[in-house]
């Protein structure tokens, strides 16, 4: 091993998978070996068994679907509103000066702490779940998009001016395309965070969703089901992240040349 020396693609995947194997191995040794009580931590085999049970008999697929739609719905609304505002803030400094202090403040307000208020305002239906995701991701998105747009190379902007571009042309034909790859990267990152908010939202006042299943299992001390729920979230997160990465690389091939 030498610092910064690249690793071959096949080896990279093998190493990545190896740690999962080590992790599950340690878990299996601790639980199946009898070092940890079943009450506190289920073993991998009973986790898989109850996972199958959940999917086949208790309609867990519906919960997964509900959770996914909440994440995607809340995130899509946040992204649709954050994009124009973030671009406007990045491009026009007075707009940034107007919104930036408030957005920086709002970003530190924990979305989960709003849940009681949101229940009061929006009830315990879907609107409340979407609102939690929205609050959790909107302000982060706005700030990060504004930074991406603001960081576009000045010399590219100047070159466009000398080619006859006007202000709107600079925004549309330079700032937006130049920052698009890093905006897409921001969306990918914040979508990951949205997953953590949705579960919190579902822990309180929900009648479906992965988070709801986890609270139900807590009452039954079904640690195997809880772990299966958590792992399901992890797997969905990993798959969507890989998909997003791949999509970004395809959309912005020029950025990785």
């Amino acid at each position: 091993m030498k610092p910064l020396q690249p690793v071959a693609p096949g080896r990279r995947i093998a190493l990545g998978v190896a740690f999962f194997v080590v992790f599950v191995g340690l878990w299996a040794a601790a639980t199946l070996g009898g070092f940890v009580s079943k009450t506190f931590l289920a073993d991998p085999l009973s986790m898989l068994r109850s996972g199958w049970e959940l999917l086949a008999r208790q309609g867990f697929a519906h919960d997964i679907g509900m959770t996914m739609w909440r994440v995607l719905g809340g995130f899509a609304i946040a992204a649709l509103l954050a994009l124009p505002l973030g671009v406007a803030m990045g491009a026009y400094k007075p707009v940034e000066a107007f919104f930036e202090p408030f957005v920086s403040f709002a970003r530190y307000l924990p979305a989960s702490a709003f849940i009681p208020l949101l229940i009061l305002w929006a009830g315990i239906g879907e609107a409340q779940k979407l609102a939690v995701i929205f609050l959790g991701s909107f302000f982060q998105l706005v700030l990060m998009i504004a930074v991406s747009v603001g960081q576009v190379r000045r010399d590219l902007v100047e070159a466009a001016y000398t080619l006859g571009a006007r202000d709107w042309g600079i925004v549309r034909r330079v700032l937006i395309p130049a920052s698009a790859p890093s905006i897409a990267e921001t969306l990918r990152l914040v979508l990951g965070w949205a997953w953590t908010y949705v579960i919190v939202a579902e822990l309180i006042g929900a009648s479906s969703g992965i988070g709801h299943m986890i609270t139900d299992s807590q009452a039954l001390l079904a640690t195997d089901q809880i772990i299966f729920g958590i792992i399901t979230i992890g797997v969905i997160g990993l798959v969507s992240d890989l998909g997003f990465k791949r999509l970004n690389r395809r959309l912005f091939r020029w950025a990785s040349l």
């Binding site: 010399d155 100047e158 000398t162 006859g164 020029w254």
Partner: protein, 262 residues
Amino acid sequence: MSRLSIRGVARSFPGLHGAAPVPALQPTDLEVADNDFITVLGPSGCGKSTLLRIVAGLDVPTSGEVRLDGAPVHGPGADRGMVFQSYTLFPWLTVLQNVCFGLREQGLPEAQQREIAARYLHEVGLAGFESHYPKQLSGGMQQRVALARALANDPKILLLDEPFGALDHQTRALMQELLLSVWGQHRKTVLFVTHDIDEAIFMGNRCVVFSARPGRIKREFAIDLPYPRHYTVKTTARFSELKAQVTEDIRAESLKAALSQP
């Protein structure tokens, strides 16, 4: 009447923490005639790039004014094409789309854009690279595309800010000849900033030497070498003679610049 006239243009930058403003460019006058190829030569930090940026409209003079064909310059515009020292091709556009950038901004129909772009790409020797992305090209090729992109707009004047500064010596020499041949064909008015004495003499019909910071025009040389210039010009007696004169002038300024650096 001269095409470009720079009258009393000066620029100072505001001092830090309320200190006195720092002068970068002393009041400068320069009259540029049609078809002039003026090289602006000076030590680094002498304000020669600032002058070029003011002509481009990317910077605003503290006093004085720039007129192009009699009309005062306010802000950048397509009538003054510019090639920068840094590589400023838009990395998300192909070579062809880069050259079409200004034409599209003018609202030309796409077929016409392509036709014009293809012509200039051919002129800079890059026909066949239309669908490449800038990052797939070498530095010299990128600057050739940048030149084609600036020329495609058919500007009244071409502003070049050390466009070959980042290139290796051999590529640089080839680019100089290429630019001269393009200039010979289009007879554009050119303002070319450089710190390379050979380049300044080889390229221009007039060479303006700047003093150390805060810059002013110290002296102007008429470069009477006949065009078209072949690279062998660089080994002629007249070239050496001019170079000796210019070197003498610029050396004194470079020394001043080097000694006054904080």
